[in-house]
Structure formats: C-alpha cells, structure tokens
Amino acid sequence: MSLWPEEVRARAETVVSRYPERRSAVMPLLYLAMSVDGHLTDEGMEEVARWTEITPAQVRAVASFYTMYKRERTGRYLISCCTSISCMLLGSDDVLRAVEDESGVPHGETDEEGVLSVEHVECLGACGGAPAVQVNYELIEGVTPEKGRELVRWLKTARPAVVNTDEMQGLFGGARSFEWGIREEVGAVGPYPAFQPLGTVESEGSS
C-alpha cells in the first residue's frame, strides 16, 4: 500500500527509470519523500525502500549520511547560512547571529509554527559573493546582517508560496560571484531542492 498520491507515484516511476539499477534512485526518491511530508518521515523512508527494493535500514543509512535529508520537523523555509572560510572572512558569523536573533531560532532548530528553520552550513560555492545564504537551496549572495534580518521578517510576513533566487537576490543580496543577466521565473516550494525531475519546481504566482 502506497502512502504517496498518484502523481508522486508516477514521478517516482520516472525517476527510477532514469537509472540502470533501482537502488540508484534512493537519493532522488528521498527528496520526493520530503516533498510529500515536508521532511523525511519513517513512513517516507519505508516508501523509498519499497520503490528501490532495499530495506528501510539501508534507506536510513543513506539518509543519515547526507545533510540535506532532514529527518526532523523542518520549517517551510530553511535558511542556510554559509560560515565556511571565504564567507567567514567577510563576516558570515555576524549574518548568522543576526538571522538567529531576528527569527528567535538558533541554528539547527525550527520555530514552533514550523515556518522557519535556521542552520549554518559549510561552503555553498558562492565564495566570490560572500557572505552567502540560501533559502530552500535558492541562493542569495552578498548578505549583510541587516539584510539577513530583513530576509527573516519578509519570510515571516510575506510567506511567499515560491522562493525565487533572483527576487531574493534583488531584495536582500549584494555583490555576486558572477553576473547572470537572466531572471528565472521558477523557485522552490519547500526545504528541498527545486529540480524538474522531482516535480518540485514551481512558477511564481502558481500554487
């Protein structure tokens, strides 16, 4: 018996078909499970085990290895502050503290409402635009402590259905690693990557 709705099952079938062996689909399917439940639940991991024909323990072994599989309740907006060397040199610790202070959520935790989660993360590959912050893996570069506070207030009050990297960069960002002239019209809808094969990419204004 599957817990996943019909459209997610169809998506899972397509994901599995992209690999020569079913087990290889475990990572994308874990994201799919997160998109169903908001984070990785025991039931979600059991469902992934059925799809990949391995045991739930084997799925859990994979899920626990990677930082992006959130096995605890996670907010609708996951704020990830990079604090690796290049960001640290340009004041990322102050950005993290400002985000924690404004949200009232210490890194590694989620607020009571389930709206915001805050974490500090290792290098996001945005070192030329340090300090870098991501919301649901959508990037903002050149963030100051004050802009970090504004980002928190915006997420709490505006509660965008889709978080878009270009919109957030315009509102809260500064210098970027490199110029990118094209505005993307899509974004992320939860604390997991927005990626076409997972069906997690939404246009702004939809949903």
Binding site: L30, F65, L89, V121, A126, C127, G128, A130, F178
Partner: protein, 467 residues
Amino acid sequence: MTLLLTKRMNDHPQSSHTIDVYEQTDGYSQARRSLQMSRDELVELVKESGLLGRGGAAFSAGLKWSFLAADRPAYLVVNADESEPGTFKDRQLLERDPHQLLEGVIIASFANEVNHAFIYVRGEYSKPARRVQDAVDEAYAAGYLGKGIFGSDYDLDVTVHLGGGAYICGEETALINSLEGLRGEPRLKPPYFPAVKGLYMKPTIVNNVETLANLPHVLALGAGGYRELAHETDTGTFMTSVSGHVNKPGNYELSHGITWRELIYDIAGGIRDGNELKAWIPGGASAPWFVPDRHLELDITKDATAAAGSMLGSGAVVVMDATTCMVAAAERIVRFFSHESCGQCTPCREGTTWLEMILRRIDEGQGREVDMGLLLDVSDGISVGLAWPPKMTTICPLGPSAVSPIKALQDYFRDEVMDHVRFGGCWKDRASRSSSAEKTEGDRQAARRSLPTTERGSGGRHPEMTA
C-alpha cells in the same frame, strides 16, 4: 588573453545557456566531428593536448581515459559536486554554458564507448542543476542525446543526479557509491579503480566539469593548437575562483604563466581597504597556504606550486589580509574537514575532531603551551611527517587536507598561535576590549558560545589530554 570556456558567456550574457545561441556560435560541431573519429584517435588527441583534470588532482585526462578496461557497459560520470571551500568556477560553467559541458560529455562518452552518462551535481546547486536539466532536455529534443544521436547509430543517455550535501562525494569513488544509492564513503584503490571497477563494478570515467567543458576546444584547436596556449607543462587556459579580502573577487579564465602577484594585485584588484596581504590559499581549502614574502613572485603553474609545497587543486584562491586571525581561519578550515569526514578511517575521523577542538580552545583563549605541539602530533597521525603531497594513512585525501592549515600555523604563524596561548585569546579581541569599556568578559564569552560548532564535536569542551 585567449578565452575558451567563458568566451560565449561573455559575448552573450543574456542567452549563452540556450541551445540556439550555442549552435549559432559553432556549438555541437566538434561533437558531430568526434563521431567520425575512432576511440583511439580521440584518446590520443586528448593525451597529446596535455589537458589535465581540473577537479584537483591535475592528472592527464587522456591518460585517465586510456586506462579504461575492456569490460562493457562503461559509464561516464561528470563530477559537478563542486564543494571545496573557495571554489565556484563549475557553478558558472553549469549555469551559464551548460551545452558546452554537454558537448564535452558527448565527446568523452563516444571516446570511451559509453551509452549512459551521469552528471552528479551537488544538492545545494539547485539552480545550476535546473539549467543543466533544461540543456539536457533541449539536447534530447534536438536529437543530440538519446537514440542515434546526430543521425548516427550511436546512443547516449544522460541522467542529471542531485547530491545530498556531502563534500566527500567529490572524491570519485565516494561519488560512485553515492550514485549507486549507498553512503558516500570512498572505496579502496586498489582494487576499486573506477576505470576498472567503477559504477556497478563496470569501467567508469569520472571527469570534472571544467575538464569536459574543455573538450570541444581541444578538438577545435587540435592537440597542437591547444598545447600552444601552454606555459611549461600546463596547457590551455585555466579557471580560478578568487575570494576573500580582494577588491574584485570572482571567477577568472586566465592564461598560464602569470604570477601570484599579478593574480592578486592586478586581476583581482588588490587587497581591500589598501590592507596588507597576510596569506592566501592557492588551490582550495585542502592546499597548504602561501605567504607574500616567499611566494608572491612564483608562477601559477602546477610544477612551480608543487615545488613550493602546495597545489593548484581546485583553482580556488582564498586571500586573507592583515586583519585576519590565523587561528580562527585555520579553525574554520579544519572544522570543515571535521564536519565532512565520512568517518571510515580513524586517523581522519578522530584526528580532524581533535584538531578542531584544540584550535577552538586556543581561539577562545583557553590554549596551553603544549597545544602547538599537540596539533602537530595529531596532524602527524593523520598525515605522516606533514609531507606534501601527503603520505596517506587514510583511504582518501580528506584527512591529510585538514592538516594544511596546521602546517601553515607551524611554518608561518607560530608566534601568533603562541600569542593566543600566552595572552588568553585573540589580539583582535584584546584590541576591541581595550577600546570599548562597556564590553565585559561575560559579553565576550556569550558571543563565543554562540559560534557555530560541528554537530558531532564536543563544542568548546576541552579534551582531557596532557602532554
């Protein structure tokens, strides 16, 4: 200055990622041409060109291909798991010219008799992954991927795979495990050389994004033409990501043969606020550090960097000015490796954790006279003799990489470490304490406590250890 990899995105800033612009600018012509060549011709051409792997190891790409075992099916895996601190060049290549990568994928796949290639993009790179997936979809629609590509009888499928946020998956055997749906733990070599026993125990080529993006240019210029862009043994151009305390951080595609002074002061615009340069990391967080009085006039080449005891690695240059506390910088890099250690090998799992804790207590003003010796002792347990390139005690080079900042502290900044120990913390904190009377010791400790620590470390707790 010749631009190869970034020419199209410079010329077409709004549209370099589309298949239309790619084809208008000669795109896919080399992939078509490669299908008329034999596997041996292609491997020989790439070998002749001197193209070196750009993921960090700087190994001859053609030679790597020539090791591919005869067993089939063979696989190509594109390593787009860019996560070495300081590195962001592949992100630009993925976002802004994804078809250039795909053309390289087609050439490499055909040369290695591969019918299924995987592009492993790090999970946090959701936008680059979307751009690559769009490009893959466009290429399928055009008949450049799928069955009988370009009207030939050659089939090629490409799957874009998202990682899960583990730096170690940039190590090729860990990446293969991850792609098989396992924990991303590196495999022992031998026997698990990817070219022999790789993905699904089949012959597998793992190439970095920048390496593959070079292939259309190698074919277009010919081995000789590509070699002509050389300085000593480095051929073609190279991408470098410059970050930290420079006025113009960013990705630069450069010709070989410039010096570090030219890179830092001319190309990257010099140090912010006219500050003095204190040190820089020449090739990503794993590389031993350079300092101005010894290394500023060196050529940026593989050999010159190796002779000076470091590496060009991932091409990432992290610049630190005179305001930087070297203990804090070293702690931050060691924390990275401690966090990213997969935990298989004891020297790395335990060693990086200890290095992080010892550095943190020095940084917090709780250091002891013996701590510098202790750091070296623990480092020696991970990387024997702190030699470069490292003498390995571990399956992969992650553990030894964590030792690079310790070696820098020992070689260049020992006085600064001992100053932390003797005066109970950082000179920067002492300076700000004397200037702001209202800041109490309690405030300072409260600020310290909220500093991020790794989840599995013991935070600021002191290791019970005596020398």
